[in-house]
Symmetry: C2
Subunit: 424 residues, 2 copies
């Protein structure tokens, strides 16, 4: 039996910006498995619109609130799987709860935002925060013809990249029409007649807007588990072992609410990504069913589309490497996605972060047009296997003029990093 407080089961949260922007038209296509499918094919009863208010570990029961029917009841369990996901950060600022201010985390949020935008046809929007969701929502709103402003406290958008790589992303945002307000803090939200949002107050003035989207990231939704006495780790997510077992023998956790181990820094982290959630869910399910599987941890790989740009990262950035105690050097290398003479060859910038002395690859970032994004997987596998840049530059990667220069951008970057490491 599974409870979810929302109106959709088993959906692609990563698809929400594309639904809002109209790239994906039918919200149902984002749902991988409906409650009917769960019931018929997997004999799992999924109850939507049900809020779990409390977990009683001693009695092995949940207090459940049926949001539609209105009743509250207790449900017993032998094993409990906590998959409560993450919650968008809502800054404690005046007006943040006004109608027209949206956090976008659940598919219900996405449906509500799209209805608001298509119904009210706002002229101007402000996105607060320049992370993945913020940038994807900026693109979605620009695509809908809304004048879209992006406010970001840092000097560059996308602080999951190093600032030099983030600067490349800023250009792509402007290319599709977003208006950037970088290095500006948000102080609050102005509201109008019906209490609706009318503007965003920043450190440099007020930006008029009829719709605001919060893209300030998410925090693991571990409150329910914590209230029940289950251990929450230093990242704020539910602590789990490699088998996705929590501190309580009957309780498992997976997904955005569960803590992950970063394999390079060795630290516990909270990373809200569907690819981890999927792998973890599989591991937890196998173990719950009496099997044996383990989740090996993460290395911080991520990719997103920003207009014509593909933006990807893996492992540690420069600042992250320093924070994790590595002495590292970074090398930026320019190349093309195809052989220079082949039609459609486009620039691609690759940055590698390398441990000084050993030459071990700690991380990489790639920004470029078509064909850039999935190249990060080669970097990710090199980081995963603790390869040195000297070893990476010799690897037999694929080459043909429509797909790569004879030195693939990843190999060329590794070569440059290796040559640099001998000079340092």
């Amino acid at each position: 039996m599974a409870f979810d407080r929302g109106n959709f089961s088993s959906y692609s949260a990563c698809g929400i910006p594309y639904y809002v922007g109209g790239v994906v038209d039918d919200v149902e296509t984002l749902v991988v498995r409906s409650p009917e499918v769960f019931k018929e094919k997997h004999s799992i009863q999924v109850l939507l619109g049900h809020d779990v208010l409390e977990v009683d570990l001693d009695r092995g029961s949940l207090l459940v609130h049926d949001r539609v029917g209105g009743d509250r009841r207790r449900e017993g369990f032998d094993d409990l799987m906590v998959a409560t996901g993450a919650t968008p950060v809502r800054p404690d600022l005046p007006g943040v709860d006004a109608p027209g201010v949206f956090g976008v985390q659940t598919l219900d949020d996405g449906v509500e935002l799209r209805a608001y935008v298509t119904g009210r046809k706002p002229r101007r929007a402000v996105i607060v925060g320049g992370g993945y969701i913020g940038l994807e929502m900026a693109e979605a709103l620009c695509a809908l013809g809304v004048e879209t402003h992006l406010v970001e406290a840092a000097p560059q958008p996308m602080n999951t990249l190093d600032p030099d790589m983030g600067a490349l992303v800023a250009g792509a945002l402007e290319d599709f029409g977003a208006i950037l307000h970088l290095g500006q803090e948000v102080a609050g939200f102005e509201t109008g007649a019906e209490g609706r949002v009318t503007g965003v107050v920043t450190s440099e003035g007020t930006i008029r807007a009829e719709v605001v989207v919060l893209g300030l990231g998410v925090t693991p939704n571990s409150a329910l588990a914590m209230a029940a006495g289950i251990t929450v780790g230093p990242s704020g997510a539910v602590a789990v072992d490699r088998r996705m077992h929590t501190s309580h023998p009957a309780v498992w956790a997976a997904g955005d609410c569960a803590e992950k181990r970063h394999r390079i820094s060795g630290r516990p982290v909270a990373v809200a990504l569907g690819t981890h959630a999927n792998k973890e869910g599989r591991v937890a399910g196998i173990n719950l069913g009496g099997g044996d599987a383990t989740f090996p941890g993460v290395i911080g790989t991520a990719v997103t589309k920003v207009g014509a740009l593909e933006v990807a990262r893996t492992g540690l950035g420069e600042a992250e490497a320093a924070e994790a105690g590595f002495v590292a050097d970074a090398v930026v290398s320019e190349s093309t996605t195809r052989a220079g003479y082949y039609p459609g060859a486009a620039p691609i910038t690759t940055k590698l972060v390398v441990e000084r002395g050993t030459g071990r690859l700690l991380g990489g970032q790639i920004v470029g047009e078509e064909g850039a994004a999935k190249r990060i997987d080669a970097v990710a596998l090199a980081v995963w296997n603790a390869m040195t840049v000297e070893e990476l530059m010799g690897v037999d990667l694929a080459y043909a003029p429509p797909y790569s220069p004879v030195w693939d951008p990843v190999l060329a970057a590794a070569r440059r990093a290796h040559e640099n490491s001998r000079r340092v």
Copy 2:
């Protein structure tokens, strides 16, 4: 000082089919460095149109023939670099030397073929052999509006793939208009009035054609080195160590003429690919100059474009694994290049070859549309690092709906192979 018997220096041989087909219009764009650039920037004298007829290792001299001036002279050397490349296989069949029958290896060959096709406007062409060059040339000739027939002795084109994956390629060939004659041997070539080729005789009849392209692969051009007493390995290529040193202390070799070690089978192989040639050339150059570098060997990675399909391979195929002494299982997995709901999502087929018992990944093949090709690099890195499919399925690869399903096709294939390995 460098001698080359052709008319171009340092060019992209892999670009020749795209020049012939008109995808690339200016032949000069395929030349990476002209003799002028070599002279001015690198102080290297490059003599084109010069044939080296003989190497005298005792005297440390070459017998050189100036094909333009006509004179023969001796040139001395302290160190000799052999980079004689490869030669297209020309079967010993009646009519093979007739005008209109082309082997395509050098840029001169490409220039000659394009001039022939644009000048004589042949109505029909036959490609003999369905390897990389054969398929790329078939596409080039179809693009020029020539009715193009492909004759291949095997039951499927592209015998560098397993037959089940080759069958997918056959469909793509027909999609751009090539007419396939599979499982047919070529017996000879018919010629007409001026001695020009007029048809190809196969085991099932004669195919009329005014131009024939041989795509039967290449052999290492090691004759010059062998005649000088330098050791040639079992693959027919010049034997070298990891520093690209031949059996003679003053002689180095790199590129298509030099033997490579296959890291998975452990065997010496001849593989004619620009990506290896480039890496080897760099290694030989560093060592010649007194430095120290090594070439780590190959794992058989290759990729090509066949119409709308991207076709890639790495490591060992099923038959190759058996031949190398592995007991292996193969798993084929179907997925999409993007999230299923994202516009442009296209089918992608991934095949993995896995050692039985250990679960070690030995090789992979990928056939699919846009976004398929460079995914082979992830498989290549997994093969290179001797990863098991269980380990690979857990790796943190990039996910975002425009670029991948939540389980990347490579991860999904590894997962399926792992699940299969527990059943075998």
